[in-house]
């Protein structure tokens, strides 16, 4: 698609070499981590200042050119997929840590700073930034804000929305707004809450103030093995019902355990059907106390074995299996497709059983490794894109899992975002009135509809098609499966 010459001149004078417009240079940005969807951008802007971002956005606004913001490109739902005729606004060069202040308990960073870099900068003061998505080495704080990213410690420490105090936002009109404040409070509506997780549709985040927390004085990790997936799922609810809020509560099923053990040699029991990793942190005496109570609960729920990591070294080895589970599972098949539904914890056992039934029906293997404490499932569907029809089958399998999550009172995405990937399933979760309100809210921020158009919220027309596709003769696919 031809780029307007006047726009090209204008952007060139703002950005100089920070503007890419040749296909060879732009192709590197054709996708994010959802690589099944690719579209080479026509223009890539790499601004180095907030003023440049404003100038770029204003120029695009004048020329009615869509703008897609991108951080590190680690997103799993295609949120940073370029759009036809649009400009890709890459914020990776806005990567300065502007301030770390332990006394005020905050860090102020530019959007391109990586998640882990914030914790590294805070570490000398005994503090850290709590959200820890698995891509934290690479993913950017700006991207975390766009996706409301989570991680393994959300149950106790929350998502990005709980750990961001303020953002500076450039609107599509080029205005620079401050939402929130360093105390986390600001007069007026709580617009910061609407912006976090808005997938780049409401504005471009150019600065983020995050809350820092003191590094816990003591951390212990407990591994419980179960010979039944259902019992393991029950145990999750029992721990929480006992008044214990673990820092992390992660579950893996047998395929995930075996893959992780083969990959990382992390000491997992290979005969287990499921395991729980339960991290407890806090004051030393409190940790001892909670560890004891957790062990009692787990044993009472029928854990085959419960052990506590002896030292930091064993703890990190036990975590390594969980943290490398995705690449480990990735070795089991040429491709895998990661889902992200969240359900009320009481339905964990049932939905896991449904996923197993679907796995048989679709003739595709699945491994489960997920944030059980949050009810946030990550079924990894194994397939071979090289085999005829397998990708389509995997996608249908995935959509059915998300339908099951919605039917169980959950959501189609817990932390990965909708992007382009889950536009269809969004139609199951929301009615047309809510979707219309979402579109109207976007237009309140971006009246011309130029920011990341077509992402995150499906059009009503698309939902009509999606319904037609999925409902045959008034029956959902697999209507023999119990839905609740």
């Amino acid at each position: 698609m031809a780029v307007d010459a006047a726009l090209l001149r204008e952007l060139g004078s703002v950005l100089g070499p920070g503007l890419l417009s040749t296909p060879e240079a732009c192709v590197a940005y054709e996708c994010d981590a959802l690589t099944a969807h690719r579209h080479p951008p026509d223009l890539v802007a790499l601004p180095t200042s907030v003023e440049q971002v404003q100038q770029i956005v204003r120029a695009c606004r004048r020329h009615s050119v869509p703008v897609v913001a991108r951080g590190s490109g680690t997103g799993l739902s295609g949120g940073a997929l370029p759009v036809a005729g649009g400009l890709l606004l890459v914020l990776s060069r806005l990567a300065a840590i502007l301030e770390v202040d332990p006394r005020r308990g905050l860090a102020r960073v530019q959007p391109g700073v990586t998640n882990l870099a914030v914790s590294e900068a805070a570490a000398p003061y005994g503090m850290y930034y709590a959200p820890d998505p698995s891509s934290q080495v690479a993913c950017s704080v700006g991207g975390n804000v766009a996706e409301n990213s989570g991680g393994v410690h959300c149950l106790k420490y929350g998502l990005t929305v709980h750990n961001v105090l303020a953002v500076k936002l450039v609107t599509m009109e080029g205005e620079l707004l401050t939402l929130g404040s360093e105390t986390g409070e600001a007069p007026g509506l709580n617009l910061l809450a609407a912006v976090i997780g808005s997938e780049g549709l409401l504005g471009v985040v150019v600065e983020v103030t995050v809350r820092l927390l003191p590094i816990p004085r003591r951390v212990e990790l407990l591994l419980a093995a179960f010979d039944d997936v259902g019992r393991c799922a029950e145990a999750v609810g029992q721990v929480i019902a006992a008044g214990i809020i673990p820092a992390g509560l992660e579950m893996m099923d047998a395929p995930a355990i075996r893959a992780a053990e083969a990959f990382a040699g992390c000491g997992y029991p290979l005969d287990a059907q499921a395991l729980l990793l339960c991290e407890i942190d806090g004051l030393p005496a409190d940790v001892d106390d909670e560890l004891g109570r957790t062990r009692v609960v787990l044993e009472a729920t029928g854990a085959a074995s419960v052990r506590v990591a002896r030292d930091a070294e064993e703890r990190s080895r036990m975590w390594s299996g969980r943290k490398s589970a995705f690449p480990a599972v990735g070795r089991l098949a040429p491709d895998y497709y990661c889902m992200d539904g969240t359900i009320p914890r009481r339905h964990l056992a049932d939905v896991l059983a449904q996923i197993a039934t679907l796995s048989t029906a679709y003739r595709l293997d699945v491994a489960n490794v997920f944030h059980a404490g949050d009810g946030n499932l990550h079924p990894l569907i194994l397939f071979d894109a090289g085999k005829d029809g397998e990708l389509e089958r995997a996608e249908r399998f995935g959509a059915d899992i998300l339908e099951a999550c919605v039917a169980a009172g959950g959501t189609v995405t817990g932390e990965h975002g909708v992007g382009v990937e889950k536009l269809g399933p969004m139609c199951s979760q929301f009615g047309s009135a809510e979707l219309a309100a979402f579109h109207a809210l976007k237009l309140a921020f971006d009246p011309a509809g130029l920011l990341n158009p077509g992402k995150a919220v499906p059009t009503l027309a698309r939902c009509a098609d999606y319904g037609a596709l999925r409902v045959h003769g008034g029956r959902l696919p697999h209507s023999h499966l119990p839905r609740f």
């Binding site: 709980h162 806090g282 959950g410």
Partner: protein
């Protein structure tokens, strides 16, 4: 564990929606009322009453899920009692300011009590909401799960929105277990030293879940699973209060029945950065603060002085309680917004309340 049975309550959704649709067509302003306990907060609203109190009842509560869903008119006291029976609580410790306070009013007012300093604001615990918009649409946002990034997070946007976007019909909140142990300490200390002490302790991970300073006296609450607390008590120092004295102290702070608040009119609330709070508070005589200095109360002081303080210290001020003698207020009670941000507020208001009939002027004169 399973869902807890609760009395059925009463569903007035249809009648309320009908009423709002009619008002929208007639352009009749509505004043949304739950228990009418926070009428003092925000600007006065002239309008017919839209009463939510009859729309009540706990819909779902499963302690193992850490989530409660109830209709907006459910009494806050009933919800707190139900949670307490299962060893849980609303983590943000909201003030009720009266026995008739409702869940909807609590979320719409967005006010949090002493525990806010450790556990965050109301917004952080809102998981989902059902909203009756200004043109009578009934919309559901969010849900009952801990992690949910499908669609814009409208339910959190509604926390503290003072009813200007719609009337809350139902709210789902995350709840937490009550801490197993709690200690409250009291010591004499001046304001700046208190702020420094609290800041340093918080930075080192001492589990402070409340602080209140008034008239040279600091109260600090620590909470944990129990045995660990005794190790950290000496880092604060002072005298240990017994359980009932501690409970009544924190209740009086949360509900503003503490002697400091008795004749504090007009009462200003300042939200202040930690590093400037101490100096800012030296400028006023009648001062109290919570949240390690981040929330300060000032009374008997002119608006000009308040403006001077926030200009130099940062943060912002709210005219929290007006002088009882002044029936109406001419100026704003919340800090003014920059023009582009106010424009955005207007645009967002139009999305949910196109006719501008819901709580008009409650937050800002022309919003």
């Amino acid at each position: 564990m399973a869902l807890i049975e609760a009395p059925a309550g009463q569903d007035l959704t249809d009648a309320l929606a009908e009423r709002v649709r009619a008002a929208s067509q007639a352009k009749t302003p509505l004043r949304i009322v739950g228990g009418d306990t926070k009428r003092f907060y925000g600007r006065p609203v002239a309008g017919e009453t839209l009463a939510l109190a009859g729309h009540h009842g706990v819909l779902r509560y499963d302690p193992a899920e850490l989530v409660i869903t109830a209709r907006a008119g459910t009494l806050l006291a009933d919800i707190e009692a139900l949670l307490a029976r299962h060893g849980q609580r609303l983590p943000f410790e909201p003030p009720s300011f009266g026995q008739m306070a409702t869940l909807g009013g609590t979320v719409a007012a967005g006010l949090a009590g002493p525990a806010r300093v450790a556990r965050g604001p109301v917004r952080d615990y809102v998981l989902g909401a059902r909203l009756l918009t200004g043109d009578g649409r009934v919309l559901s946002f969010g849900g009952e799960v801990m992690k949910n990034v499908a669609g814009y997070d409208v339910s959190r946007l509604l926390a503290g929105s003072l009813g200007i976007l719609g009337a809350l019909l139902e709210v789902s909140l995350k709840v937490l277990p009550v801490a197993r142990g709690s200690r409250t300490l009291r010591r004499r200390i001046d304001a700046q030293d208190a702020i420094d002490l609290l800041g340093a302790a918080a930075q080192r991970g001492v589990p402070l879940t409340g602080s209140f300073w008034s008239a040279g006296e600091l109260h600090v609450r620590l909470e944990g699973s129990g045995s660990g607390l005794d190790e950290v008590v000496p880092t604060i120092g002072g005298d240990l209060l017994d359980e009932s004295a501690a409970a009544s102290l924190w209740h009086s702070v949360r509900e503003q029945t503490h002697p400091y608040f008795a004749s504090a009119r007009p009462l200003w609330r300042l939200s202040l950065p930690a590093t400037t709070a101490g100096a800012a508070l030296l400028r006023a005589d009648r001062v109290a603060f919570e949240w390690h200095g981040a929330q300060a109360w000032l009374s008997g002081i002119e608006r000009q002085t308040i403006d001077l303080i926030t200009r130099t210290a940062g943060g912002h001020a709210t005219l929290f309680r007006r002088d009882d003698a002044a029936v109406s207020v001419t100026g704003e009670v919340f800090a003014p917004l920059p023009a582009p941000l106010l424009d955005l507020h207007r645009a967002v208001k139009r999305v949910f309340d196109p006719a501008g009939i819901l709580n008009p002027g409650r937050m800002y004169a022309d919003l």
